[in-house]
Symmetry: C2
C-alpha cells in the first residue's frame, strides 16, 4: 500500500466513526505521515547513505546526505552527497565522470539512514579505482588484511590535476 | 597479498638496501601498516557498520561499533554493535535470539566504515520484524512511500515484556 492509498483510506475512516473519535484519529494520521514521508533531517542534518550496486548487490560505498543533497538526488536521478571534508554538495562523478544513476531509494525503520541502489557509471565507485570502497577484508583469527577485487581504473589517470 | 606477506617481504627489503635507507623504509612500513591493519578508531570513537546478508546480498541494517564491539565481533564471530541510545554494547539478538553470525568483515578505503557479511538467524534483522530495516521505498517523482518485503515475525511476540 502506498502512502497515498493509506492516507486516502484514512480520510474515509472518521466519516464512519463520527466526530468523537476525530482527535485520536488525527494523532494516528499525523504519526503515520511522519513515518511514511521519508528520512528525518530534523534530528540530524547529515544522514548516512549506503550505495549498493543495483545489478549485482555489491555494497559500493557509504557517504552522507543533507536535505539539499537528498532533494537534488530525487529530482535529477543522479546521486548527490554532502562532503563533510569539503563542506559542500558532492555531485558524485563530477570530476571522474563516474556518476551514480539512481535506481531505487529506501529509508530505514528509524528514518535516519538511506539506501540507494545505483547504476555505477565507469564500474568503480571508489576513488582508489576499485569497484567498491570495501575492498580490504580482515581475517578474524589472524587479523591479516587481504585485498579483494581488481582495480577498474588508475586514479592517477582519472583525477588529473588540470 | 595479505598484510602478513606484505610485512614479511618488507622486512627483507632493508637488508638489500643498507642502513642509509632505513629511516624512509620505516616510514613506508608504518604507513602501510596503518593502511592495512583495520578500521581507524583513533579518529572517531564510533564507526558506522553496514550489515549485509551473506547469502542474498540484501543490505539488512546500519549500526555503529566502537573498538570494544569490533574486537568482540572478531573474537566471537557474532556481530556486536554499540548502542548510541543505550550507551553500551549491543550484542545483536541478545533479546530476540536473532543473532548475526559473522561471515566476512571489510573496511573501506578511508578506514572509517565497516561492512559485515552475516548469516541472520531468524531471517529478520529489523526490530519491526522485516528482513531488512530498509523496507520503505520512496518514489522519486511522487514521493509516495511503499513497503517492500513481508514481515518475518511479529515484534510483539519476540520482544515480550518479562
Amino acid at each position: 500500500m502506498s502512502a497515498g492509498d493509506l492516507i486516502h483510506s484514512l480520510i474515509a475512516y472518521p466519516c464512519k466513526r463520527g466526530v468523537r473519535s476525530l482527535f485520536s484519529y488525527e494523532i494516528l494520521v499525523f504519526t503515520l505521515m511522519l513515518e511514511t514521508t521519508g528520512p528525518d533531517f530534523s534530528r540530524a542534518e547529515l544522514i548516512p547513505v549506503i550505495a549498493q550496486d543495483a545489478e549485482n548487490g555489491d555494497v559500493l560505498m557509504m557517504a552522507w546526505m543533507n536535505q539539499e543533497a537528498y532533494e537534488e538526488t530525487l529530482r535529477t536521478g543522479k546521486v548527490v552527497y554532502y562532503s563533510r571534508s569539503r563542506k559542500k554538495l558532492w555531485r558524485k562523478g563530477e570530476e571522474s565522470g563516474n556518476v551514480q544513476e539512481l535506481k531505487a531509494l529506501y529509508f530505514d525503520c528509524d528514518a535516519d539512514t538511506l539506501l540507494v541502489k545505483v547504476h555505477q557509471i565507469g564500474g568503480a565507485a571508489c576513488h582508489e579505482g576499485f569497484r567498491s570502497c570495501f575492498f580490504r577484508r580482515v581475517d578474524p583469527s589472524t587479523r591479516s588484511v587481504t585485498v579483494e577485487g581488481d582495480r577498474v581504473f588508475d586514479p592517477k589517470e582519472v583525477y588529473r590535476k588540470s
